[in-house]
């Protein structure tokens, strides 16, 4: 370990603006070295990246997700035609040449519908995760750092949100807002998802702010903002990233479930959830119309869950 601390020290002196607080970062590294238990942030990240690159689970999940991002950005490259190009004469037909997944009850090509469905899922899960993570981190970090009445209020609010199962809240909330586009779904997931991140962020910031190097920075007269952004947050962010990565997969499934229940995304937006819901009425005649989007959905969730598992293993060595 000692060579890593030296590395960190050198890096600190090299990159951070030495003119404002020349001593604090050296002191920070020294305090970390003396305590011996706190890993310097940068070596945790490079460690994690080393681990991830060698983890086959991460590689498989990463490739799958890159592919999904590709088809949601440029679906027309992979698709054979427009997803709205439907002919009722083809109703419920099985696979044939040029139409590998067959047709659904409206005579639409299931392959094209499935390809174009990726965009909605990915948009919702990435934006919702980003939103929930940002809001949760900011509120949780402020509450954890300052404590006091703000912390008490935030803790009560999180408890209130934890009292509502997310699917139930989503059903009630979205049934009132009858838009069917991605925005209310994203808004809802952010609204119901941030307390989970906030709770983790709060706990993690409370742990990080008790470290010696934070005390040292404060003694040297660093401003609260600087302590928060440069000393506390970098050392508290790992658990937040883990929660957010795992949330990606859950949110894909949540969006599909809400769309399946008829309150999430609605036509003309193509989503796997509503495709499955429509196909479920014809499951006796055309099971393929249900199985293909269902397979795509499950594969997407699987990819994100695998990514979450790999990131957690890499960032939290204690769990191994």
């Amino acid at each position: 370990m000692p060579e890593r601390y030296e590395e960190k020290q050198r890096a600190d002196i090299g990159t951070q603006e030495a003119e404002s607080l020349p001593g604090s970062d050296v002191l920070q590294a020294e305090a970390g070295g003396m305590a011996g238990t706190d890993q310097p942030a940068r070596s945790l990240w490079s460690d994690a990246w080393q681990d991830l690159r060698r983890n086959p689970v991460f590689v498989v999940a990463g490739l799958l997700i890159l592919f999904l991002i590709f088809i949601s950005l440029w679906p027309s490259v992979v698709a054979t035609g427009s997803p709205y190009n439907c002919d009722i004469a083809n109703r419920n037909l099985g696979a044939e040449s040029g139409h590998p997944f067959g047709f659904d009850s409206q005579g639409c090509d299931v392959y094209n519908r499935t390809v174009y469905g990726a965009r909605a899922s990915l948009t919702v899960c990435t934006l919702a995760t980003l939103g929930a993570a940002l809001l949760g981190t900011v509120l949780g970090a402020l509450a954890g750092y300052f404590g006091g009445w703000g912390d008490a209020v935030l803790s009560r609010i999180t408890e209130v949100f934890f009292g509502i199962p997310i699917l139930l809240g989503g059903l009630v909330f979205l049934s009132v807002i009858k838009s069917g586009s991605v925005w209310p779904v994203i808004g809802l997931i952010v609204l119901l998802g941030w307390p989970q991140v906030a709770r983790i962020a709060r706990g993690s910031v409370i742990t990080a702010k008790q470290n010696d190097y934070v005390q040292a920075a404060r003694t040297l007269g660093a401003s609260t903002g600087r302590i928060m952004l440069r000393h506390v947050l970098p050392n508290a962010i790992a658990p937040i990233i883990v929660v957010a990565t795992i949330a990606l997969g859950t949110y894909v499934a949540l969006e599909a479930t809400l769309s399946f229940l008829g309150v999430g995304l609605k036509p003309p937006t193509i989503s796997w959830g509503s495709e499955i819901s429509t196909a479920s009425q014809q499951i006796r005649n055309a099971p393929h119309a249900l199985l293909w989007p269902a397979g795509a959905l499950s594969l997407t969730v699987l990819a994100f869950i695998m990514l979450g598992d790999a990131v957690r293993d890499a960032l939290d060595p204690k769990l191994r």
Partner: protein
Amino acid sequence: MGRYVIRRLLQMIPVFIGTTFLIFFMVYALGDPVTAMFGDRAPDPATAAQIRRDLNLDKPLWQQYVLYMGNIFTGDFGQAFNGQPVLDLMRSAWPITVRLALLAVLFEMIIGVTLGVISGLRRGRAVDTGVLFATLVVISIPTFVTGYVLQYLLGVKWGWVTPAVSSGAPWDELILPAVVLALVSLAYTTRLTRTSVAENARADYVRTAVAKGLPRRRITVRHLLRNSLIPVVTFLGIDIGNLMGGAIVTERIFNIQGVGYQLWQGVLRQNAPTVVGFVTVLVIVYLLANLVVDVLYAVLDPRIRYA
């Protein structure tokens, strides 16, 4: 212990008020229950005003909420918009969902814990890898997909079970829906038990038990399992809320006329009294389950003693 329970019950009150008010706000303030009663037609203004007055909807929101909660605690959940008392709907729906959830929790406990113990004790071997892979796959398939696929395969194609549940919802017809409902949580229970057992298997007290020459079975059940189950119990308690939420999906697929089905119908038709009533009871169940979990902690782990 008694004092701890009372303190926890008191702490629940603000959470209960906050949660129910949030739902109340969503249904009554964001939506318009009176317009919803008339469907697509525009209501006659005088009739609408009359209904608003009868249902206290002309008062400020906080006053509506207080009146509503006052009624609930005297056992009056109001009427659904078709004139049926919400309490009647609950009487027919709750026993069904309780049976469904009980079966699901039972599957989680028996199958999940067993699989978890087996793979935790054989960490790194083929069984363990197999269980880990299987649970990963199960977790990534959303409940409604498993529901339809199993219903199609077992109910329609192979004809092993009846694809839809009859209105009385007898125990045997609920087995497949309960498996579907439990599946994702079962996978989580398995993984959690596995981690916990694998960790505790290396603990000093297990080595002591082995050294004393206790039979393997007794070590696993009395020493290892008892300590490993603590996180699992927490998970199961919190999961009861998820099961109730998941019941919305499962009950829709298998046409079970329980709480989830009523809630879904209520939400689709914007039947405000039904939705708020059912959600309020669900929140109470959820909070009580969390309390039971905290109390069980002390029973399972003698080191935890509440003052």
